[in-house]
């Protein structure tokens, strides 16, 4: 309740908007995988919207993020328009990466997204680099990297945390702890708690226990961002959350690696429903207004699909562009 005082109503509503955008975009993407419009697979953020949006909205224009394979939420959280994202998933010329990245490698430089990474953990030091350039150039910005509980066991995370800490870089290490890495429960492959790893690297570690609450996440990340901007260095934020779907759409895993009770408990804590109830209870918006918001976004998602399906495929020669900044030289690559 206290926290509300700090945030404008339109910010509180924008949080809901972005969470619904992620939900509906991902649900639609999931269908499009099943129907074969999207090649390969996608990893949805369904269930993790609060964790994504709370974090992204704690940043400002000019700040940077990097992400991972669970990728659509991050740029949407930063405010990317949906059309070029969906077109990218389908591999169209109008995709945000010209159809060359696909779901796993979304990037939207206009909205601060430096790129998702299909290689788990691999984009973590990229964010450290964005913090380094901010510090060196004296620019007032911070950088945040998203990674999962699984990726938290990649060594590069600790090299990155140490570097950011030693150099006091404005970096936020945001661990999306959804309790599983694919079929592997985090506790079976993780020694200790991730949040506790911060201390040994000389930085604060904060665990958001209720990662389904967008305001809780927002508060923790806003604090970390402020710390970075003050020149006090990096923060590790571990957000406890849950993915509602399978690791990736269409993947069938032979083994019941997630307990039914556990799943149901988490499903009952839907971040969008929770924030909706809160907005109404606090008088920020009425049911009708929130219904209208959801309808509006549903239409936006429809439109992004129409945009996508009406977009052309990239010309074959596009495959031979963008490797280097030099003008395209077909000879050289053949």
């Amino acid at each position: 309740m206290l926290r509300k005082a700090d945030l404008q109503n339109n910010t509180l509503l924008e949080m809901q908007r972005r969470m619904i955008r992620i939900r509906l975009f991902d649900e639609r993407a999931s269908k499009m995988v099943k129907r074969g419009y999207i090649p390969g697979t996608v990893h949805t953020s369904i269930g993790q919207e609060a964790q994504v949006v709370g974090a992204c909205m704690a940043l400002r224009k000019g700040d940077h993020i990097t992400g991972n394979h669970r990728s659509h939420g991050h740029p949407i959280g930063m405010g990317s328009p949906l059309g070029p994202l969906m077109a990218e998933l389908v591999g169209k010329a109008t995709g945000v990466c010209r159809g060359k990245g696909g779901s796993l490698h979304l990037a939207d430089y206009a909205h601060g997204s430096l790129g998702e990474s299909g290689i788990t953990g691999s984009s973590i030091p990229i964010a450290v680099g964005a913090g380094l350039s901010a510090q060196t150039l004296g620019e007032d910005r911070v950088a945040m990297c998203f990674f999962g509980d699984g990726a938290a066991n990649q060594g590069v995370l600790y090299e990155s945390m140490n570097l950011a800490s030693a150099w006091k870089l404005p970096v936020i290490f945001l661990c999306e702890n959804n309790h599983y890495a694919l079929s592997t429960p985090a506790h079976t492959v993780t020694g200790g708690r991730i949040v506790d790893r911060a201390a040994g690297f000389g930085m604060p570690g904060v665990r958001v226990e209720n990662g389904q609450d967008v305001l809780d996440v927002h508060e923790a990340v806003a604090e970390a961002a402020a710390r970075g901007r003050r020149g006090d260095g990096p923060t590790l934020v571990e957000v406890m959350t849950y993915r509602f779907r399978e690791h990736s759409e269409g993947l069938r895993i032979n083994v019941d690696y997630r307990d039914t009770n556990e799943r149901e408990t988490w499903l009952a804590r839907d971040p969008i429903q929770m924030h909706r109830a809160w907005l109404i209870a606090e008088g920020v918006a009425t049911e009708a207004e929130l219904d209208a918001l959801a309808d509006e976004i549903a239409q936006e998602v429809e439109d992004c699909v129409t945009f996508t399906m009406e977009s052309p495929d990239p010309e074959p020669k596009v495959a031979f562009e963008d490797l280097y900044t030099d003008p395209y030289d077909m000879e050289a690559v053949q």
Binding site: G40, G101, A181, T184, D313, P316
Partner: protein
């Protein structure tokens, strides 16, 4: 004999080896749930049994996502009594463990004057042509060919996959297995009994007298198809060779074939620069230059990263048609671009 897929054959070789030798263990991400299809679990791709039930949690272990430590631990375990198989899933993840592969697995025995041996197998699958984007489409075996101390297998059929992998697991040296995902579903009659295929012996998949065609990994079936089409359409007789192991590389069989045919077409899915076909072409230019009656032709992925869009990706790899065109060209049935221009 029974009909097996390529990926089923890999599972079968692993199962066979685990039964035969208690020291064989499998570690990797999500191997317990058989997510990648080679560690049992009847409903999935591998043919028989659930490995966890059959061999227990000590011998089939899910790992954290820590490729470098996993690979290093496997090397250390191999140096002290186990015979680990590390399932690294995608070949694109090998870079995470590069230091351990190059500086430890490949060098230890040599540096320590033969005191250690490193009986470990590193398996990874090359997903390409499947719209998985640049982070999941690598075919990096040429890099590892430049690292003395590793052995490398690249099976192109189910029966070879089973026999080569079994030989790899039995080997006392570190072996990297590069498996071709486009071949996963390919079926073949495979011997159910235990057999091993020695390293460094190319397999002549088709005898012929006009053109030697070498196909590596996923390019081999395309080479075979192209050879058949050329025989039918033009009466060109191609000898199709599968090196099967890239280290050691049986260049002798290829050179011998070129001495007979005088013409060489090479196909592989890796990037062009410093690829396996570069090595083979260079060796032939050294050892059988006098026998060459036409320029060598390499068909590879260009020196370009892999785009995601289905509209873009497929054009980057060798195809049956491209191989056929190259065969026609070296056989003199098709003019080169230059000849066409100057004509």
């Amino acid at each position: 004999m029974s009909v097996m897929t390529y990926i089923g054959a890999i599972g079968a070789a692993q199962q066979e080896a685990m039964i035969a030798d208690e020291r064989v263990i499998i570690i990797g991400e999500d191997v317990e749930a058989n997510v990648y299809g080679t560690t049992g679990g009847g409903k999935q791709r591998a043919e028989k049994g659930d490995f966890v039930e059959q061999f227990g949690h000590r011998r089939i272990r899910n790992t954290p996502i820590s490729e470098e430590a996993i690979v290093g631990a496997a090397i250390g375990a191999a140096m002290t009594g186990l015979r680990p198989i590390v399932d690294l899933s995608y070949s694109s993840f090998l870079y995470m463990a590069m230091d351990q592969l190059v500086n430890q697995a490949a060098k230890n025995r040599y540096m320590f004057g033969g005191q250690s041996s490193v009986p470990v197998v590193f398996r990874s699958a090359m997903f390409y042509g499947l719209n998985t984007g640049a982070h999941h489409s690598d075919r990096p075996y040429p890099m590892f060919m430049n690292v003395p101390g590793l052995k490398i297998i690249a099976p192109a059929s189910a029966s070879d996959a089973k026999g080569l992998l079994r030989q790899a697991i039995d080997s006392d040296d570190p072996v990297m297995s590069f498996e071709a995902v486009p071949l996963w579903g390919l079926k073949e009659e495979v011997d159910d009994t235990e057999y091993r295929i020695p390293f460094g012996k190319a397999r002549i998949r088709r005898e012929g007298s006009d053109v030697t065609v070498v196909g590596i990994s996923g390019s081999l079936p395309l080479a075979l198809k192209a050879a058949e089409a050329m025989a039918e359409e033009h009466g060109i007789s191609c000898e199709v060779i599968d090196p099967r192991t890239l280290v050691p590389l049986d260049t002798a069989t290829i050179v011998e074939s070129v001495r007979k045919t005088g013409r060489l077409v090479l196909a592989e899915p890796a990037h062009r620069a410093c690829g396996a076909t570069a090595e083979i072409a260079a060796t032939v230019a050294e050892e059988a230059q006098d026998a060459l009656r036409a320029p060598i032709r390499r068909l590879t992925a260009p020196n370009m990263q892999i785009p995601f869009s289905p509209a873009l990706e497929a054009q980057l790899y060798p195809t049956t048609e491209k191989i056929a065109a190259a065969i026609r060209q070296v056989a003199g049935l098709e003019k080169t671009a230059e000849e066409r221009i100057s004509a």
